[in-house]
């Protein structure tokens, strides 16, 4: 009995020791990184001065109100690019995910190829996508669309594939047992079951892409990102602040709408 108690005590001691070691490692990592970057911890104390400057300059004033028209126009364009790229990518992703999911794949090599492809697409940062595509497609909306499309394709293929695999084989087999064909099983069994999950992923991705589209626009010289860059470089800070504000409003609105749709679906 006593040795049992001892064992529990030992268990907790080991656990505590492990936690302490992890904390020490994080501490050392921070110190190491500070030294490496020449970053001084006390400079954090001056952060408030920087923030005060930001507030002073970026709060939109009367002069910046004249920019609303242009901002809303560009915001709308950016939004359309984000939605279009997400929905196009979703259609292709669903197809790839079905033939790539381990439970439905026609051949295990197909599954492997799709897995690798989606991992590749997903792991190239959006900024890199935009830069690469700029070479061939120059500065226009198509470049931004494609950059978002490829990244989303990689992400959604993976997400859909996992959704399908979680769905399991039992219900698929139950329909196969009635003599249903592959396509019938997918349309009558799989899709109705996973429809809500797919919509949730797509809405999440639209939110995400509205944000990313701003960044991509900055590089490809289109949409809201472009005019932010323009105002900023020409020292029209008030107008630039207005752009930031409008992007925040849009992202929050998209999130609210997608929550609403999500609740209606389930």
């Amino acid at each position: 009995m006593n040795s049992d108690v001892q064992q529990v005590t030992n268990f907790f001691n080991t656990k505590r020791l492990r936690l302490s070691i992890i904390l020490v490692i994080f501490g050392l990592a921070y110190i190491g990184a500070s030294i490496g970057l020449g970053f001084q911890t006390q400079s954090l104390l001056n952060v408030q001065a920087g923030i005060a400057w930001l507030i002073h300059n970026f709060i939109p004033n009367e002069a910046s109100q004249g920019y609303w028209n242009e901002i809303i126009q560009q915001l709308f364009r950016t939004f359309i690019v984000a939605v279009a790229s997400t929905t196009c990518a979703a259609v292709v992703s669903l197809f790839l995910a079905i033939i790539g999911a381990q439970t439905l794949t026609p051949a295990i090599t197909v599954s492997w190829v799709i897995r690798c492809l989606s991992s590749l697409l997903r792991n190239i940062p959006i900024v890199a996508w935009a830069m690469i595509l700029l070479f061939s497609f120059k500065q226009n909306d198509l470049t931004g669309f494609l950059a978002l499309f490829f990244m989303t394709l990689g992400f959604l293929t993976r997400a859909f594939m996992e959704t399908i695999e979680d769905f399991g084989t039992e219900k698929i087999q139950a329909l196969q047992a009635t003599g249903a064909t592959y396509l019938q099983v997918i349309f009558q069994g799989l899709l109705p079951e996973i429809a809500v999950a797919l919509m949730t992923w797509i809405l999440y991705m639209i939110e995400n892409n509205v944000r990313d589209a701003t960044l991509v626009g900055l590089l490809t010289g289109t949409g809201i990102g472009f005019i932010f860059n323009l105002y900023f470089k020409s020292l029209r800070y008030g107008a630039a602040g207005l752009v930031v504000l409008s992007v925040i409003i849009l992202v929050v609105a998209v999130e609210l709408i997608s929550n609403l749709i999500g609740r209606l679906l389930s």
Partner: protein, 256 residues
């Protein structure tokens, strides 16, 4: 009707899950397979409609070996073999009537199946079957809102939609309360007696087997250890079916 000969199956190529299983099933009879957990009951049932590819043997359904069929022929054969499951395996967001109509997918063209284009005759049949299992007023309910017993009855209606010659049931009552158990077993019994369908059921409850079965097959460690009329199922026979086998590593455990 159905004759299984020398069926063998190993999942990993090493440990035998079935070794030389032979039995046959008569039309209009309820045949029950009993045996300890891990004995191979599910493996037998799923081999019959080839959801599992077995390794060796013969499965004669209407005098043709199901194991030798090509894809299209297998699909044809599956149309006449209904199946119901412990966890129902309905498409939960769809309504009861849609799930029942899934039973005739096997006889439809790809496109008609994909777009749910059913003939009037099929719609009538589906409604009739829902009435038969006592769920007429639930036709347009989503299956996720039905109780376990109701779901299983939708499962039975789906199987009947196939106009099956045989229905395979893998522990159909294991997740049900006593009242639903009786409802479901009564329906299955009735299908055998009055519609001449062969009903093959995996069961864990010997007392249920006693009140509903015509014929019993006892499986232990992948082998048939009992194959006789229900009247012959003595207590010693039961004990030997559920006996822990010396050379199986603890997988054979009496469950209740």
């Amino acid at each position: 009707m159905l004759t299984v000969k020398h069926l063998a199956k190993s999942y990993d190529g090493e440990k035998k899950s079935l070794t030389d299983v032979s039995f046959s099933v008569q039309p209009g009879e309820v045949t029950v397979i009993i045996g300890p957990s891990g004995a191979g009951k599910t493996t037998i049932l799923r081999s019959i409609n080839q959801l599992i590819r077995d390794d060796d043997g013969e499965i004669l359904f209407d005098n043709t070996d199901i194991r030798q069929l090509n894809r299209a022929q297998l699909r044809q054969a599956r149309c006449r073999i209904g199946m119901i499951f412990q966890n129902y395996n309905l498409i939960e967001p769809l309504t009861a009537i849609e799930n029942v109509l899934h039973g005739c997918l096997g006889t439809k063209s790809n496109l008609a199946g994909i777009f749910s284009i059913y003939r009037n005759r099929e719609k009538e049949e589906a409604l009739k079957l829902l009435e038969k299992v006592g769920l007429a007023e639930f036709a347009y309910q989503q299956c996720r809102n039905l109780s376990g017993g109701q779901k299983q009855r939708v499962g039975i209606a789906r199987a009947l939609m196939q106009q099956p010659k045989i229905i395979l049931c893998d522990e159909p009552i294991a997740s049900l309360d006593p009242k639903s158990t009786i409802t479901v077993m009564d329906i299955l019994r009735d299908l055998a007696t009055n519609d001449g369908i062969s009903v093959l059921i995996n069961l864990h409850q010997v007392d249920i087997a006693r009140s509903y079965a015509d014929h019993v097959i006892g499986i232990n460690n992948g082998q048939v250890v009992f194959d006789d009329r229900i009247q012959a199922l003595s207590d010693t026979a039961i004990a030997s079916i559920y006996q822990k086998d010396a050379n199986s590593e603890g997988s054979v455990v009496h469950e209740f």
